[in-house]
Symmetry: C2
Subunit: 163 residues, 2 copies
DNA sequence: TTAATATAGTTAGCTTGCTAAGTAAATAGA
DNA sequence: TCTATTTACTTAGCAAGCTAACTATATTAA
């Protein structure tokens, strides 16, 4: 009833391609839903994470939470600031870092956004049990660990070649 | 032993972000490994799919298999052709379509590529059972279906507004 | 047979990830 | 205290996904 496809075999050929495709599709679903708010994928994701980590978060903390690099975040924050949804304030304790705050308008957009996301979540996970979703989460975390380990080892290999 | 994270809760906030991150990381692992071959992610993925669907496949069939749109594929094929790994021949039965074939050099690259991918697959799936991987596959397929259904419904909604 | 529509592929330009290299502020060492 | 290094962020430009709009060929209908 639950199993269906030989994942191990399927991915033998396409590796992580399936994940990329599903990711693009899910992203598209949300983007269609939030289009009236003038939000693209990177913008709505960023708003959700700012709220999750609390206002006043630094850009570095935010980038880490989103799993993206600083330059990618810089661009998105610039766009959000231009749309008057957030403001960036220099931290007076450490004037290198900037902290993110919502504007009034930003908070309104966030609350509409969260309602829409809740609806979509139900649609996307339809037909999957909490148990199955937990196993998927475990698998994703495991693969992320494995990938990072592998990347680190490649980097060490490079450095050895330098000497 | 297997479960660990509350996926359902985690994704409540970040939705498909986890998938995107894991996808980017896995892609990076392969890209590092195949860099000596001068292949980027889109190029090696395309080579693997051409081989999977057999030489002589049309661009449309290939795009569908890769889960990407034609313009994305056009660019990648152009690069692969410039690197002398494939050739595109106009189908004489239907002169609109083009069929893809490997060059001698392309076949050599493919075989090295496949060895490397097999190694990486083992690394990335390390610590996951076939059963867990099957559940992940099922979940991905299910989410893909759900997402497509949702996108179709949005499109219908748009058309109704037009009348 | 000719005009209208559909299909395969291309081109142009957007989004959002990335790395490399730069600036300005903070910290460590001489 | 003054220089050197590290850190937070920015800028510039590449990679690879996308849509919209184009060309050329094939099909369908008048």
């Amino acid at each position: 009833m639950t199993k269906q496809l030989p994942f191990y075999e399927t991915l033998d050929l396409t590796l992580c391609g399936n994940m990329g495709r599903v990711h693009r599709l899910c992203r598209e679903v949300v983007t269609i839903a939030v289009e009236p708010l003038g939000l693209t994928q990177s913008r709505w994701t960023t708003l959700v994470h700012v709220n999750m980590l609390q206002e006043g978060v630094t850009q570095l903390e935010l980038a880490h939470s989103l799993g993206i690099e600083m330059p990618s975040l810089t661009r998105t924050l610039k766009q959000l600031e231009e749309s008057l949804l957030i403001v960036r304030k220099v931290d007076q304790q450490d004037r290198r870092s900037k902290r993110i705050y919502f504007t009034e308008q930003g908070r309104n957009v966030l609350s509409t956004l969260q309602e829409k996301i809740a609806d979509i979540k139900d649609q996307l996970y339809h037909g999957l049990s909490h148990e199955q979703l937990d196993i998927m989460a475990y698998g994703l975390v495991k693969m992320e660990e494995n990938a990072k380990k592998s990347i680190i080892q490649s980097t060490i290999g490079e450095n050895l070649n330098d000497t």
